[in-house]
């Protein structure tokens, strides 16, 4: 079936080329049937790439090692659950996933806008197909997922053990959905500039897609953070890693755009700013993909080779140059239709919020690309670490949280000082009470930034609670509904506003979790033997006994490791049992014959399997690094390598079992990493609240889903409504 996959790619490339030509011919010559044909090319592309993706997925599930990419990233012992996800662990598979998702999202947006924005969407179609052609060309000319080897190897190398985590099933598709959705606003923004139709129509058409991009990218980032926390064995959820940063940057500019687009929709202002933001967001999304796939910056999240650097850099260069040309050549028609009525208005707060978000993005951009910049300028590569990022991002994050509480209580256009003063009483009271409580209890002593974040978050809770309470009161006054029904009706009728408020609450909750867990963490890295114990914060952790399992089927973590060595830890507080933790480390088959018939069975990457007791107030987190380099264990491997032939892997497994028994009989001291972090769970809860709010804001309003009635009758009724 590899031929079918390869044929699909060639056909997809041809469809892209035709669609670009048809769309441009249609819009330039005023022939809408060609534009329509171009739009249908995108649907056809989605169909072709669906077949191609299905071919590759089936090859993985059927262990068809004649496909090079299957042999390189899967194996007979890789659990089926992870075989399905292994498609996007490879360079080639992830390119196919990118192109496929782009074709699906492009089809959806072009279908929904098929009766609108005729010229803009024709240009957007050509641009979307241009991106599709780029990624398909990479697969056709550089990294084809359908390359085969004959005869096929009997087994594959296996999936990178680091990727054997449940969140890896959905993290890459979510992140790539976010990246590809970022391309939709970029395509329509460029389309609007090319068609010289830069009013708010194109923004209204893609607003929901910009929100979806933000939502998917956010979910992808959160899943990546969760994977980092629960899998990587260093105990953190965010390390300012290059690839993490690369996904955060388009999310930040996307967040800025979601706020500033409202100003263009309502006031016809910030046209240059908005179109620049969507172009920047799309370009940053491509740069994010480039960082993951190129390996140009070292990252624990980078899983690609260095072969795609030149095409990606060329694409990014073209994007930046085209963006600058289009914005500067259309600057006359991008002039604002209105000016700010007042500095005390929601528009002003949104502007401030935009500046902070873009400032954050700039800081992260500088820190992330500093190794490349320093190498280009001085010839020496140097990098900046988490303290550098924290120094600049923490104050900006504080301002951002504060603004998310100020914005909701300020009116659009103009607010009077007396109204503003009255509206700030409750939020300020929330902040002040929190400050007094923290100072009185002394729990945050010596942590001024954490105190500031808690107070800002309390301010946001006060502000949003007041908004909901007042909204419900207004609704009840007009409808007489009971409070819960009034609340539901209020949110249903004003989804964007109240969904957005929920997002603000979620972000405040998330930042409380970040501030508490990073400021009040207790961590310990030490070596323990069975029976020994240590103190971590208020908790006592005792190494009760070691554990060992052999063969991929018995691996307790279900990741397919040949040997898993771990420990049972008893956690107590004040003499009372709190939790039993079972951290382990998995040793995987390397597939490298030079390590010997037994050595290769455990010679692959060793991956930590974290064990933690998570709660709403604190997480007790543990990881173990067992020592298998002892003379006794090495001798078992040496003897096995000498006496057991490669053709008897079952006997090799017996040797691994002997090794495990030796380890259990006289366990050497193991290295432990133990952490007690407060409120970590609130980061994940905050994330869920954010995405719940995002879904509410994205959900179509009742007016958009109601059944169609005569347009003239609706207009007549609407005119009456407007005059009423």
């Amino acid at each position: 079936m590899a031929q079918l996959g390869a044929a699909c790619l060639v056909l997809a490339l041809a469809v892209c080329a035709y669609g670009i030509g048809a769309s441009l011919y249609g819009v330039r010559k005023g022939r809408p049937e060609f534009s329509e044909s171009g739009r249908r090319s995108v649907y056809a592309l989605a169909g072709i790439l669906t077949v191609a993706f299905a071919v590759l997925e089936v090859a993985f599930l059927r262990n068809d090692f004649s496909f090079n990419t299957v042999a390189d990233t899967s194996s007979l012992t890789t659990p089926t659950f992870y075989k399905a996800a292994a498609v996007w662990s490879s360079q080639e598979g992830s390119l196919l996933l990118w192109a496929w998702l782009l074709s699906l999202w492009s089809s959806l947006v072009l279908f929904l806008t098929r009766k609108r924005l005729r010229d803009v969407s024709a240009y957007a179609t050509a641009i979307l197909l241009g991106f599709g052609a780029f990624f398909i060309s990479l697969m056709v000319f550089y990294a084809t997922p359908f390359a085969t080897t004959n005869p096929a190897p009997a087994d594959g190398v296996g999936l990178d053990p680091l990727l054997r985590h449940p969140s890896m099933m959905i993290h890459p598709p979510m992140l790539y959905s976010g990246y590809t959705l970022c391309i939709v606003p970029l395509a329509f923004g460029m389309g609007a500039l090319l068609a010289r139709k830069v009013d708010a129509d194109w923004i209204r058409a893609i607003r929901r897609f910009a929100l979806a991009a933000w939502l998917f990218l956010g979910i992808g980032i959160m899943l990546g953070a969760r994977w980092s926390y629960a899998e990587l064995g260093w105990g953190g959820y965010w390390g300012w890693d290059a690839v993490e940063n690369a996904s955060l940057m388009p999310w930040l500019t996307g967040t800025a755009f979601l706020h500033s687009l409202m100003i263009q929709e309502k006031r016809g202002m910030l046209k240059v700013w908005n179109v620049s933001l969507v172009l920047a967001t799309g370009t940053l999304a491509i740069m994010g993909t480039f960082l993951v796939r190129s390996g140009v910056l070292s990252s624990i999240h980078a899983f690609g080779g260095a072969t795609l650097g030149v095409p990606f850099v060329t694409l990014i260069g073209v994007l930046i140059l085209c963006s600058i040309y289009l914005v500067s050549s259309r600057r006359d028609m991008l002039r604002s239709e209105h000016r700010l009525d007042s500095l005390l208005s929601r528009e002003s707060i949104f502007l401030a919020n935009n500046l902070v978000l873009v400032g954050l993005c700039f800081v992260i951009f500088w820190g992330t690309y500093f190794p490349l910049i320093s190498e280009a300028l001085t010839g020496h590569e140097s990098s900046v670490g988490p303290p550098w990022f924290d120094r600049y991002t923490v104050p900006l994050a504080l301002v951002l949280v504060l603004l998310s509480g100020i914005g909701p209580v300020i009116a659009w256009r103009r607010a009077t000082l007396s109204n503003a003063r009255r509206n700030f009483v409750i939020p300020l009271a929330f902040g002040a009470i929190t400050l007094v409580a923290l100072l009185a209890t002394g729990v945050s002593a010596g942590k001024p930034l954490a105190i500031a974040m808690f107070c800002c978050a309390a301010f946001v809770f006060g502000s949003i609670s007041q908004e909901y309470w007042r909204g419900v009161r207004v609704r009840r006054a007009s409808s007489g509904e009971p409070a819960p029904l009034a609340l539901m009706a209020l949110v249903k009728r004003n989804r964007r506003r109240y969904g957005g408020y929920i997002v603000h609450i979620g972000m405040a909750v998330l930042f409380v979790g970040v501030a508490a867990s990073s400021s009040f963490q207790h961590a310990s890295e030490l070596s323990l033997s069975p029976g020994q114990s240590t103190k971590v914060g208020a908790y006592t952790v005792r190494y009760v006994h070691p554990t060992a399992t052999i063969t991929s089927k018995e691996d307790a973590a279900h990741t397919g490791s040949t040997l898993s060595l771990g420990a049972v830890l008893d956690v107590t507080k004040g003499g009372h049992h709190v939790a039993t933790l079972r951290p382990s480390e998995g040793f995987y088959d390397s597939g490298d014959p030079t390590q010997g018939s037994v050595g290769h069975l455990i010679g692959g990457q060793a991956v930590s399997h974290v064990s933690m007791d998570a709660g709403v107030t604190r997480d007790v987190w543990s990881a173990i690094a067992p020592d298998i380099d002892t003379p006794r264990l090495k001798r078992v491997i040496e003897i096995g390598n000498k006496t057991i032939p490669f053709v008897r892997p079952d006997e090799g497994t017996i040797a691994v079992a002997v090794m495990a028994r030796e380890y259990m009989k006289s366990p050497p001291p193991a290295q432990f990493h133990l952490i007690v972090s407060p409120l970590v769970m609130w980061i994940w809860i905050g994330g869920l609240i954010v995405f719940g709010g995002g879904l509410i804001a994205m959900w179509p309003a009742p007016s958009a889903v109601r059944s169609r009635v005569s347009v003239r009758a609706r207009n007549r009724a609407a005119r009456d409504l407007a005059r009423a």
């Binding site: 699909c8 005729r118 007396s418 004003n494 007016s703």
Partner: protein, 110 residues
């Protein structure tokens, strides 16, 4: 088998992509040339854009009302903003009606 599926796929792609070029009459989203049907029920791109603008303006009117009722706008400011927004809404409605009148004339002439 692979060749057969590829050929079927190719045929399907050609059918999907070429349909608008082979279709008699006009593509989706444009006014019918034969005058058949009720012209005012047909949504042109311009009409759809104006309808979206109208919905957005109504949302603004509702937002301003909610801001006033929740104590964020003074009565004087609210009345001034509401009057401006309603005038802008009427402007959009006028454009919509003019477009519909035009489309009715086109269909009658056809």
């Amino acid at each position: 088998m692979a060749v057969l599926i590829t050929l079927v796929l190719l045929a399907a792609v050609i059918a999907v992509v070429s349909a608008p070029l082979l279709r008699r009459g006009t593509p989706e989203g444009t006014l019918p040339e034969d005058g058949a049907g009720d012209a005012v029920e047909v949504e042109t791109p311009r009409h759809a854009d104006l309808s979206a603008a109208r919905e957005a303006k109504y949302r603004e009117i509702r937002d301003a009302e909610l801001d006033y009722k929740t104590g964020k706008l003074s009565q004087a400011d609210y009345e001034a903003i509401d009057a401006t927004l309603r005038a802008e809404a009427l402007e959009i409605l006028d454009q919509l009606e003019a477009l519909e009148a035009l489309s009715t004339r086109v269909s009658s002439a056809g």
